[in-house]
């Protein structure tokens, strides 16, 4: 059986159930790298130039883990998933870049996803990907439809049940539910919205278990995936009129939505050197300063970010929110 390696980094969090279904329908075995470790970050960083952003370094670390474990690596070049909306260069060049910096990597299955080129080109690209397993277009079509259904189901799980991607993936694959959000008691529970790309929010090594820490402190955590596409899109439209980046709604859309919502605080997570985030997070930051309703904090991560620094800032932010809540309570009484 052909073994397809999927690095557990970058777009894995958005599309994993879809990719897995597609390859399994075509009779391949899917192998996912384990969660990020320090060794992966170090080995990935040693391959690329220093200016590359942390998520890409982590991605290279995952690829290095998969070298020798699988027959093919699946690395799509996703240019655009919506009309006239484009992606960061690093996603576009990801297959070529991986090949250049990791010459020993297994052959890479790359597929160009660009909606702007028309449906025909998209179908051709999917068929070309399926050609590695079967020549039969009907089989590829069936696999693609099943994959798309799996993706919709995954999105549904997250937006209507309020699950995070790792929880949803766990649920789809039939594992036990991890501890739910409200299981920690708290005197003044606050609702904290965390915005950012899934590969930052759910990679516990990169963000030093931020969500876990928030929950442990007795807060309810909201993430962009818990909103429906419509909510995200309308919020994006309110802030920047039209989305420019493919994954813009995860930052500006969710940011705008939660800044106007009942949340007690919003935390933005970005990495140093991220092109799209440097402008998008600034948009949210400015909006928060303009609205002056909900406290906003932006955490910039990189491989040198120390746990203590994150914890200190987080504690200070939470203290501020809890004090604000308490003072509001006493005023009411």
């Amino acid at each position: 059986m052909i073994r397809i390696g999927i690095p557990q980094a970058l777009l894995h969090y958005q599309y994993y159930p879809m990719w897995k279904t597609f390859f399994e329908e075509l009779g391949a075995e899917v192998l996912v790298s384990p969660p990020t470790t320090q060794a992966m970050v170090s080995s990935g960083s040693s391959r690329v130039i220093a200016d590359t952003c942390l998520p890409v370094k982590v991605f290279c670390g995952h690829v290095l883990y998969l070298v020798g474990e699988c027959d093919f690596l699946f690395i799509p070049a996703i240019r655009s998933v919506k009309s006239k909306v484009y992606n960061c260069s690093k996603f576009l060049g990801l297959p070529d870049m991986t090949k250049a910096v990791i010459p020993e990597s297994p052959p890479i299955l790359d597929i160009d996803i660009d909606i702007n080129k028309g449906k025909r080109k998209l179908y051709q690209a999917i068929y070309e990907l399926g050609r590695h397993f079967t020549w039969n277009p009907v089989k590829v079509r069936r696999a693609a439809i099943a994959a798309f259904k799996a993706h919709l189901c995954y999105r549904q799980l997250m937006s209507s049940y309020g699950l995070t991607p790792p929880q949803a993936i766990e649920k789809i694959s039939g594992g036990v539910q991890p501890k739910s959000l409200s299981s920690y008691p708290s005197p003044t529970p606050a609702t904290i919205a965390v915005i950012g790309h899934p590969y930052l929010l759910y990679d516990e090594h990169i963000n030093h278990r931020l969500i876990h820490r928030l929950e442990q402190a007795g807060n309810r955590v909201l993430t962009p995936e818990m909103l429906t596409d419509e909510e995200l899109e309308s919020a994006t439209a309110r802030l920047v009129s039209r989305a420019y980046w493919t994954y813009e709604h995860e930052v500006t859309g969710a940011g705008q939505h939660y800044l106007e919502s009942e949340a007690d605080g919003v935390i933005g997570i970005m990495t140093f050197g991220c092109g799209p985030d440097s402008v998008m997070m600034d948009m949210v930051h400015r909006q928060a300063a303009r609205l002056r309703t909900i406290p906003f904090m932006c955490l910039t991560l990189e491989e040198h970010t120390a746990e203590a620094g994150i914890v200190t800032r987080l504690e200070a932010f939470l203290d501020m929110i809890h004090r604000k809540k308490r003072s509001r309570l006493t005023v009411c009484v």
Partner: protein
């Protein structure tokens, strides 16, 4: 209405001509200087690239001079450039300037879209007037770039260093003053002649170094700390593909007809990078592959945190076609002594490489 434009090299001269001919009230902000950079850095998000910071500095300075309508290049499907205008407008509004930022699409609106923007700015001037003003602006652009090509050659071989650069700045001023085609032509011929007459060292064989990288930092000498002039002083002939006049020629006139100057470069890059990654990343890889045999070395200029160039930087070392590449990441922190040291070391390396190659050739013939 008072119009302002950001700087990039000498691009303000054609704009000035255009606005003067069409009686549009305009301001030209001061040429990029330390204050521009400080203003830009102060009000920009920290992770943005130097082109954003410098153009923001220009726009703030233009707004200080009373401009209320600012032009800014933009468009979709390129890189962060498409988001510049949106962000800069918000920053200017937050600073209290009541300005309108017009995004001039460099990728999606072609020539006609740009002419329409000019028509709007000129208060509906007749099309004939707009087109003649536009043509004259382009003629000035072409004249400047023609002289610059000669300057690049002469700088390397002139005996008194700095003569060509001085003549070039004189030529720019003369072109700026020219108000009809005849004067412009005369200025061009006159300065090309003067440049060719500069006394030069006949036996000296200059090294040839290509300059590639991101559009803005290649074309804006303030952001790359005059890397071309410094290379010229070290006796290096600089070759570069990027010229604003070339860009306008292809992007506005020839690309719609199906002629693409970049096809050759993209084809060269194909084994290493299969697709467009936005910005000038694909071209940077392609130029390394394409010119590996022709040039002695390559200077790759990229803004710090530039997404397409980072991908290109990761791919470039893996190409089979080998040529020394000096990468200079431009940001607000780079300083002249650092760049000079690196350029000198690079030129030394190229010189030694050339000598070694010549020795090998002699040994073979003996």
């Amino acid at each position: 209405m008072r119009v302002g434009v950001p700087h990039m090299g000498n691009i303000y001269i054609p704009f000035k001509t255009l606005f003067q001919e069409l009686n549009i009230d305009f301001v030209i902000p001061p040429i990029n200087n330390q204050r521009t950079l400080s203003l830009g850095v102060k009000y920009s998000p920290e992770g943005l690239c130097i082109p954003f910071k410098l153009t923001l500095g220009n726009l703030i300075e233009a707004a200080e001079m009373g401009a209320d309508t600012l032009l800014m290049p933009g468009g979709s499907g390129i890189c962060r450039l498409g988001y510049y205008a949106k962000t800069q407008e918000q920053i200017l509004h937050d600073l209290g300037y009541n300005v309108e930022l017009i995004q001039v699409g460099v990728s999606q609106h072609k020539l006609f879209g740009i002419l329409q923007i000019i028509k709007r700015l000129s208060n509906n001037a007749p099309w004939t007037k707009i087109i003649s003003a536009f043509r004259f602006g382009l003629a000035k652009l072409n004249a400047m770039d023609k002289i610059e090509r000669v300057v690049q050659k002469v700088r390397a071989v002139e005996q008194i260093k700095g003569t060509a650069t001085r003549l070039f700045s004189e030529a720019i001023n003369a072109i700026d003053r020219a108000d009809d085609y005849a004067t412009l032509k005369k200025v061009q011929i006159n300065y090309v002649d003067q440049l060719n007459q500069i006394s030069r060292n006949p036996a000296f064989q200059p090294l040839i170094v290509g300059i590639t990288g991101e559009f803005y930092v290649v074309l804006e000498p303030f952001s790359n700390l005059d890397v071309e002039i410094e290379l010229g002083k070290l006796g290096v002939e600089v070759k570069r593909r990027l010229f604003v006049s070339e860009w306008t020629k292809f992007s506005w006139f020839l690309n719609p007809l199906g002629v693409n100057e970049k096809d050759r470069i993209h084809k060269a890059a194909l084994p290493y990078l299969k697709r467009d990654i936005g910005g000038d990343g694909w071209e940077s890889v392609g130029e390394k592959v394409l010119h590996a045999k022709e040039y002695d070395g390559l200077v790759h200029l990229a803004p710090f945190t530039c997404m397409p160039e980072i991908v290109a930087l990761n791919i470039m070392p893996s190409t089979k076609e080998n040529i020394p590449v000096l990468t200079i990441l431009c940001d607000e922190q780079i300083a002249k002594p650092g760049i000079l040291t690196r350029l000198e070391a690079f030129v030394d390396l190229l010189e030694r490489r050339r000598q070694a190659k010549n020795n090998r050739r002699q040994r073979v013939t003996v």
